[in-house]
Symmetry: C2
Subunit: 242 residues, 2 copies
């Protein structure tokens, strides 16, 4: 799992506060441990069949102790979801006055990390949403926010001359959608094609490159090359096996 560590071993897997509880408290620590353990199990092959009992056993915790914090699997997934939201909205934040080519490439790399860390979520998305209306509603809010911010990034790139505006103007929304669709669909797409879903970090780098290529033809050529280089840099062996 050396390669997996490369993509998971950054700030979020170790430093995030879980479920909004204070990180330092004992309860907060247990909750974070449950969520981290759950993500680990859910991400494995067959993870869609993982139950709260599996998670408790995996953590060497009594089912009763886990039940004290989460009554069912849906509550656990619902508590993991804010991590995905936070990462997605940070990667598409467009509040800075300009966006360099390196930063634009970096946003794609951040997207890679999210896909990899929470690949169960993207793999099982529609089943998870069908099981839990509260999650489905939260997901729609998230998607709306993500779209709006991604569009704002493109508008910024157009305003600063790094991207040409699509014609007709309604195509800007379509390009935003295409980038998002490729990003969201990448893990399910790979899953459909493999006898065993042995998805590796290199695969998600390819996914970021595919998502980038949807918008690349609209970018100013120097800007496009520089952004692309940042993404490709993350697919190189020295990044995968430090």
């Amino acid at each position: 799992m050396t390669r997996a560590n490369t993509l998971t071993g950054t700030r979020l897997s170790s430093g995030v506060s879980a479920g909004g509880r204070p990180r330092g408290s004992r309860a907060g620590g247990t909750v974070a441990r449950i969520l981290d353990g759950a993500v680990e199990l859910l991400n494995r092959e067959g993870g869609d069949a993982v139950t709260t009992n599996h998670i408790a056993a995996h953590l060497g915790m009594s089912p009763g102790n886990l039940y004290y914090h989460f009554r069912n699997r849906e509550e656990i997934v619902r508590a993991i979801f804010p991590r995905i939201v936070e990462e997605g909205l940070r990667a598409t934040d467009a509040s800075a006055p300009t966006l360099t080519a390196r930063e634009f490439g970096d946003r794609h790399v951040q997207g890679i990390h999210t896909l990899w860390r929470h690949r169960f979520f993207f793999r099982d998305l529609n089943q998870l949403l069908a099981r839990d209306e509260e999650l489905a509603a939260a997901y729609r809010d998230y998607h709306r926010g993500l779209r709006a911010q991604y569009r704002a990034i493109f508008e910024r790139l157009i305003a600063q001359g790094s991207m040409r505006a699509p014609r007709p103007a309604a195509d800007l929304d379509r390009v935003v959608t295409d980038s998002i669709v490729v990003w969201f669909a990448w893990i399910p797409y790979l899953t459909s094609l493999r006898p065993r879903p042995d998805i590796a970090p290199r695969d998600v780098v390819e996914g970021a490159l595919h998502s980038f290529l949807v918008v690349a033809p609209l970018l100013e050529s120097g800007f496009a090359s520089e952004s692309r280089a940042v993404i490709e840099e993350h697919g190189r062996p020295r990044h995968r096996r430090p």
Copy 2:
């Protein structure tokens, strides 16, 4: 269901031979009826929970009679699958010496018809493949054929001067993949965003437009406009309500 008929009322929903059996025979007729009824039920909301008993009841047929032809739901889906394959390979056939802009647009429209007619398949893809290894293997063959033919179409367009070759050359495969990913992911994407999955023919026309836009920036501009007009024509009200 007036709008549904517009997209389903062409040759395949009425004229296809089912499961390879002779269309004129009594057994072939029953098989075709079972497959048509199954597609109808599977396409509905909650269709992933449809059983062989539901299908028999829907057709006013005894479970024993259905069982004579298909032992389980997997066998039914496996018998529907060749229809999807046949349509996909026909829509991406590149054996003609040239491809006009109208024809290229028409290929996208054919893709729309397939998505719409068999939307259950694209909606539930990974669950269906996880349940049935034989289907999963057949699906991988289909995907390989589809990719190869789609790439051949792009090579033809490049050779006849209707499309510029992407740089680096490896990006041609990525553009092919992006078009295919957007096409395959469109129905699941819409499903994830709707409180009720009320997918309409207009939505799949938008999907074809989104898939087209992945390659559009690489097309010669006159060719692009003409292809696009063919797709948009199918989204107009007179096409939806004849």
